[in-house]
Symmetry: C2
Subunit: 687 residues, 2 copies
C-alpha cells in the first residue's frame, strides 16, 4: 500500500507537505481518541482511519466558509458513516467553525453541539443527520441532484451562480445496506458528476473482518451503476487521495467513487486494523501508546498552533464566498428576477401569492364538490400548486399513474447522454421507496426545492426510517401515500395498509393527513407545503370518495373539525354522541348520522384528517370539537389502537390483515359499514 | 433475439418439441389474460412474458410433486415478481395441483385460492407470499441457505436425503429494490450454488421503459456479488432457457442468475412491450386479437387435453417423491436417529423435552435473580435454548457483540472456498437488516430451522415490511431488538427507539415482548420458540435491569401479570390504583410503589411484557390483572399513544425524539423517574 515505494527521494517541498499532512491528520486522530475516551463512549476507528482522507479533502478541495455554514454555494459534505462523528467535529473545530474545544470536550453529553451522531441543526457545518447506515450517501445523492437541477435552472452564460460539489465519506456498512444500491444506481442514471463518494475500505465492520459476509467487488458494482471508479488508493497517503480527488473532479458525466484502502484506528498500535477500534474508547494505556506511536506529545484537547494554522479554512473560505457574492451581484444586475427567485428558493420562503393560491384551490374544490378518489384530489391540488411553486419537485417510486403525482407542469425529468437535464420536475425513482425518501431528505436539506414523492401506503414500511429521519431533521418533505386501506381491493393483504396510518402517526414530528374529500386534500397539501419544519404524509384513497358538504373550510387546517351537526340531517336537538372519522370512512359516518337521525338519535360527525395537527390545537378548540361530556365512537379502516387516546367508547376498524377482493366486498366483509357504525353508536348510547 | 436464425433446418423432433412448448406457453398466456379479464384486475404482462421461461423450468427441470406440495425434498419455487400471480396459478393448475379451474375463474375474489398476489398457506404449491418487491428473491436466498445447511447437517455418504434447488423468477422491480442487493450479496458470500434466479429482463416497469431510471449493468452487478451469470438468452426460446438452466444447475460454488430477454405481455399485438401490459386487463378486443395472434381458438378457461397432458407433472412428480421415500427409508435404516431428527426438524415440532427446558431456564433465572441487561438475559436464555434446540439458527446484522445473539453452541457460520459450511449456527448477516429479516422468513418457510436475528430496535424500521410479511405468512421467526429506548444513551436520537415498541405492536399477528428482567426474558424466548404461527419480536435493554422479585412465573406467558401487590411493600390495604409498566420501567414502577406506600397509598404493579399476548387472554384473566374499578397509570420509555386502550388515567412516556447523553441523564431529563411516576399516581388519585 505504500505508494511512495520505489520512487525517487522526495523533494524538500514534498517532505514539508508530508510533515504538514501528518500534523493535520494526527490532530484529527488525537481529538477523536481523546474525546471518545473522555465520553467513554463513541467510535474512534473511523476518524483515525480516515484522517488522511480528510486532510486531502478538507485541506485541499472542499469549498466552504467556516464563518458562514449557510453559504448557498458551499460544497456539501456528508459523513455517511455517521458513527465517526468525531471526525467531522474535529474538522469543523480545526478549520474554524463556531465549534469551540469546550464542545469537543463535551462530546456525547446532553445539549452539547457534539451529539453521538452528527445532527443537522445542532452543529454548524453538519449538513445532514447520519448514523442509520446508507442514508447519508443517499442524502448526498439528493443534494447533488438538487445542485444539478438548480444549476441548470438558474445559471446563465457567463453567470455561474450554482456550482458546488457534494462529497460523501462512507464505509463498508453503508455499502452493505440496500439503500446504497438504490441511491447509487440513481446517481448513475442521473449522471451526477459532481457527486464524489470516498469509500473507507478498511475491511472491518463491527463483527470483524468483513470478508466472510461482504465479498462484493465494489469497484465492479459501481461501474455497473455507471459510476467512475478511482482506486483503490492508499487512504493514508494524502497525496494519493488528493490526486484521486482531482481525477474525480474531472468527471464530466458520472459520479465518482474513490476507493481508499485504510486501516481502521490507524495510529493505535494494538487496536488498529481490528473491530475493537470501531466502537469503543481505546483506553488510557492504548491512548498513551498511540500518542507515542504517532508522535503526538500534546495533552488531550490541546492542539498546537501549527496544526490550527494548517487546518484554518477561514481566510480561503471567506475569499471564496466573497468571489461568489460578486458573481451573484453581477448575475443579479443582469438577471434580477432570476436572482430574486433563486434567493427565495434557497431561503425556503414561499411566493407571496401562495397563501391566496391555497385558499383558491380549497374553495375551488369546495365549489366543484367532485366525487373523486383522494389520490385524484391530490393531483387536482397539485395541478394548482405545481403551477404556483416551481420548487415543487415531484416523483414516484414507479407508480406514477397510480399515485397521480404528476401534473401538466411537471414533465418527467430526463438527462441526455452528456448529463444535461430537460427541465423536468417529476422524477421516476424506479422501484426504490427507501432511496426515494432519503434522496428527498437530501434535496430538502440542500434547499431550493420542496420534494414530494409517491408510493402505496403499505410500502411506507420500506422507507420508514427515512421518514423518521426527515422528522428528526425537521425537513420539509412530503410523502404521497396512495391506496391507503382495504379500499385498494384485489391486490390483497400484501398491498393493503392496515396498521400504517396508525403507525406513521407515532413518528414524532411527522404530520399525517388522511383527507376525506377534495377540499380536505387541498388543505392538507397546502399545510404540508407551508410546514417548514415538519415533513408530512398524505394518505390517499384508491377509490372514489363523495364530497362531504361542509359549512366552511377554515378549520380543516386544524386537523379536525365539526363536519356535520345533527341539524344537517334535520334533527333539532343537541348531539348525544360524536362520531370521529377519517378519509374514506367519513362518508360512512355521514350515512350513519343520517340513519341514526331517523331513530331520533342526534350525532355530531367530526372529520379528523390529521390527528397530529389536531393534537397541537388549543384545549379550547379541542374541547369545542370533542365536548367532554359526549361519548365518542371512532371509525377508520385500519388498526384501532390509536383511537383510544380520544377517550372513545368504541372504535370500528380492522385489527387483522385484509383480503384479496373488490373493495366494496371487503368493506362489507370487515364490517366497516354505515349500518355497523350506527349500531355501534346505539350500543354505546344504550338505545 | 431469434436464436434459431442462421441455424440449420430443425429436425422433426425439434419441430414437435417447439409445437409442444408453444402449446404449453400459450395455455399459460391464455389463462393469465382471461383470468385478469374476468377479474377486471391483475397483471397479465409478466405471466405472458414469462410463459416460455416457465415451460423450460416447470416443464423440464423443477422437481416437485403436485400431489404432495409438502414433500420435504421438493424444489422451492418463488415468484418474486408476485404481481404475476396468474403465472403460478396457471402453472399449479396445469401441472396437477389441487387448484381447480373454478379457482382460476375466481381470481382475486374473496376467499378464493387465487388471491391478487400469491399467498403461502392459501394456495397449494405457493411457497411464500410475494408482492412487496425484492422480498421474494430474498426469501429464496433463505430457502437455499436452509437447504444447504440441512444437507450438510443431515446427508451422509451414500445417503443424500436433502438435495433440492431453489428457483426464483424476478423482474426489474425486484432488482431495483435495495433488498435485492443485500440478499444477493449474501447469496454470493454463502456460495449458494443451488439457487437459480431467472430474470425477466423486459425493460419495462410501471412507469414505462426503465432505461432512464435503471441503467445497471445487471450481469456485471451480479458478477460483482460472486454470482454465476448466464445470458442474456432469448426468454421466448424454450430451448435457450432450458440450456441456460442446465448451465445453472452445473454451478458448483455460485448462485446463478439467468438473464432472459423478454417482451412483456408477449402475444398481445398492441400491448406487448408496453407498460400498459403490466397491470391491467387487456380488454375484450385485445384478447380477441391475442387469441388470433397466438393461435388459441379455445374459449376462456378451456384448456385442450393436449396442453394438460404436456403440463402434467403428477406422474413424474410422484415417481420422484417415491424414489426419495426409498432413499429416506434406507437412510432411516442406517441412521435412525438422524432420520428421526430430520423428520422432527422439518415438521417444526420441538423436542419432547423442550417444555421442561423452558421451565428450567425460567426457574434458573428466577433463582439467580441477576441484575443484567435484558439483552444479556436473552443471551443467558439462548445459552440454554440453543443447547436444547439445534434448529435455532441465530444471527445479527453486524451487531453480534451488542445484540448478544451468539452462544457457546452457535459458532459463526462460515463457508470454505468450495462452499462447504463449518456447521456454524450464528450468521453474520452484515449491515443488512431488511435482508436478514426476509432471509429469516425464507429459512422458516423452508423448514428445519427456527431463525432468529438481531439488530438495534430502531433499525426494525429498515426491516419492517419483512416483519409484517412474517406475521402475514404466520412464520416462526424471532427478532432480537436490543438497545430498546433512550436507555441506549450516547448514540443519540438516530439510534434511540421512541415509537418502535408501540409501532411494532400494531402489526397484526406479531407478538412483541419487552421483558423486565431475566425471568421474563427467558419466558419471552420460550413463548417465541413455541409460537408456531406467529413471529415474535423481543425488545431488550442495553442497560442493566435489576431482577423484579415475583411470586411465581406462570403468568408471565400470559403477557401481563400482577408483579407486586401493595402487601409487597408492607401495606395491608387493597390497591387504590394500578401501575402498568414494561421492560426497563418496571423497576421505576416498583420504586414508585414503595414511595407511595410511605404515603399510605396502595398501588398494584402490573408488569406487561407483551400487550399483544395479554390482549388475547380471557376477559376473566384480564380483569383479574386490571380490575375495572381501579385507575391505571402506564409508564414506558416510548410514545404514549398505545397505552390509552387500557383505559389509563395517565401515561408517562416520551413523545419526542431522544437526545445524546448517558442513559441515567436521559431518564431524568425526560421525566421518567420513580418520583414523577409516584406524583402522577397521586395526581390521578387526587392525593
Amino acid at each position: 500500500m505504500d505508494s511512495t515505494a520505489q520512487q525517487p527521494k522526495p523533494s524538500p517541498a514534498a517532505l514539508k507537505a508530508a510533515r504538514q499532512s501528518a500534523l493535520m491528520a494526527n490532530a484529527v486522530r488525537a481529538l477523536a481518541m481523546d474525546a471518545v475516551q473522555q465520553a467513554n463512549s463513541g467510535h474512534p476507528g473511523a476518524p483515525m482511519g480516515m484522517a488522511e482522507i480528510a486532510v486531502a479533502l478538507w485541506g485541499r478541495h472542499l469549498k466552504h466558509n467556516p464563518a458562514n455554514p449557510q453559504w448557498a454555494d458551499r460544497d456539501r459534505f456528508v459523513l455517511s458513516n455517521g458513527h465517526g462523528s468525531m471526525l467531522i467535529y474535529a474538522l469543523l473545530h480545526l478549520s474554524g467553525y463556531a465549534l469551540p474545544m469546550s464542545e469537543l470536550r463535551n462530546f456525547r453529553q446532553l445539549h452539547s453541539k457534539t451529539p453521538g451522531h452528527p445532527e443537522v441543526g445542532i452543529t454548524p457545518g453538519v449538513e445532514t443527520t447520519t448514523g442509520p447506515l446508507g442514508q447519508g450517501i443517499t442524502n448526498a445523492v439528493g443534494m447533488a441532484l438538487a445542485e444539478k437541477l438548480l444549476a441548470q435552472e438558474f445559471n446563465r452564460p457567463g453567470h455561474t451562480v450554482v456550482d458546488h460539489r457534494t462529497w460523501a465519506f462512507l464505509g463498508d456498512g453503508c455499502l452493505m445496506e440496500g439503500i446504497s444500491h438504490e441511491a447509487c444506481a440513481l446517481a448513475g442514471a442521473w449522471k451526477l458528476n459532481k457527486l464524489v463518494a470516498l469509500y473507507d475500505d478498511n475491511g472491518i465492520s463491527i463483527d470483524g473482518q468483513v470478508k466472510p459476509w461482504f465479498v462484493d467487488d465494489v469497484a465492479a458494482r459501481f461501474r455497473a451503476y455507471q459510476w467512475h471508479v478511482v482506486g483503490p488508493v492508499d487512504g493514508h497517503d494524502v497525496e494519493a487521495v488528493d490526486a484521486a480527488i482531482s481525477q474525480a473532479k474531472a468527471s464530466g458525466d458520472k459520479p465518482t467513487l474513490v476507493i481508499c484502502k485504510t486501516n481502521i484506528g490507524q495510529g493505535s498500535p494494538n487496536r488498529a486494523g481490528t473491530a475493537k477500534a470501531h466502537g469503543e474508547a481505546l483506553g488510557a494505556d492504548e491512548i498513551a501508546l498511540t500518542r507515542a506511536a504517532i508522535g503526538w506529545p500534546h495533552e488531550p484537547f490541546v492542539i498546537p498552533e501549527a496544526a490550527y494554522a494548517a487546518w484554518d479554512a477561514k481566510r480561503i473560505g471567506d475569499a471564496a464566498e466573497a468571489r461568489w457574492v460578486k458573481t451573484f451581484a453581477k448575475y443579479k444586475a443582469k438577471h434580477p428576477a432570476l436572482a430574486a427567485e433563486l434567493a427565495r428558493r434557497m431561503s425556503g420562503d414561499l411566493p407571496a401569492g401562495f397563501a391566496q393560491a391555497a385558499v383558491d384551490a380549497a374553495v375551488a374544490a369546495h365549489t366543484a364538490a367532485q366525487t373523486v378518489a383522494s389520490r385524484k384530489a391530490s393531483q387536482i391540488a397539485l395541478e394548482a400548486f405545481t403551477a404556483a411553486l416551481p420548487e415543487l419537485l415531484g416523483g414516484s417510486a414507479d407508480l406514477t399513474g397510480s399515485n397521480l403525482t404528476n401534473t401538466s407542469h411537471t414533465p418527467n425529468l430526463r438527462f441526455d447522454e452528456a448529463g444535461h437535464g430537460n427541465g423536468g420536475r417529476h422524477i421516476n425513482y424506479g422501484v426504490r421507496e427507501f432511496g426515494m425518501a432519503a434522496i428527498m431528505n437530501g434535496v430538502a436539506l440542500h434547499g431550493g426545492f420542496i420534494p414530494y414523492g409517491g408510493t402505496f401506503l403499505t410500502f411506507s414500511d420500506y422507507s420508514r426510517n427515512a421518514i423518521r429521519m426527515a422528522a428528526l431533521m425537521k425537513t420539509r418533505v412530503i410523502h404521497v401515500f396512495t391506496h391507503d386501506s382495504i379500499g385498494l381491493g384485489e391486490d390483497g393483504p400484501t398491498h393493503q395498509s392496515v396498521e400504517h396510518a396508525a403507525s406513521l402517526r407515532l413518528i414524532p414530528g411527522l404530520d399525517v393527513w388522511r383527507p376525506a374529500d377534495t377540499a380536505e386534500t387541498s388543505v392538507a397539501w397546502a399545510c404540508a407545503i407551508q410546514s417548514r419544519s415538519r415533513p408530512s404524509a398524505l394518505l390517499l384513497s384508491r377509490q372514489n370518495l363523495p364530497y362531504a358538504p361542509k359549512a366552511g373550510l377554515d378549520d380543516i387546517a386544524k386537523g379536525a373539525y365539526v363536519l356535520a351537526e345533527p341539524s344537517e340531517v334535520g334533527l333539532k336537538k343537541a348531539a348525544q354522541a360524536v362520531i370521529i372519522a377519517t378519509g374514506s370512512e367519513v362518508q360512512l359516518a355521514l350515512h350513519a348520522q343520517a340513519a341514526l337521525a331517523k331513530l331520533k338519535i342526534a350525532v355530531r360527525v367530526v372529520s379528523m384528517p390529521s390527528t397530529n395537527v389536531f393534537d397541537r390545537q388549543s384545549t379550547a378548540y379541542k374541547t369545542s370539537v370533542l365536548p367532554a361530556k359526549l361519548p365518542r365512537v371512532a371509525i377508520e379502516a385500519g388498526v384501532t389502537d390509536g383511537w383510544w387516546k380520544y377517550g372513545c367508547a368504541a372504535v370500528l376498524g380492522i385489527d387483522t390483515y385484509g383480503e384479496s377482493a373488490p373493495a366494496p366486498v371487503l368493506f362489507k366483509h370487515f364490517g366497516l359499514t354505515a349500518e355497523a357504525l350506527a349500531d355501534t353508536v346505539r350500543a354505546v348510547l344504550g338505545k
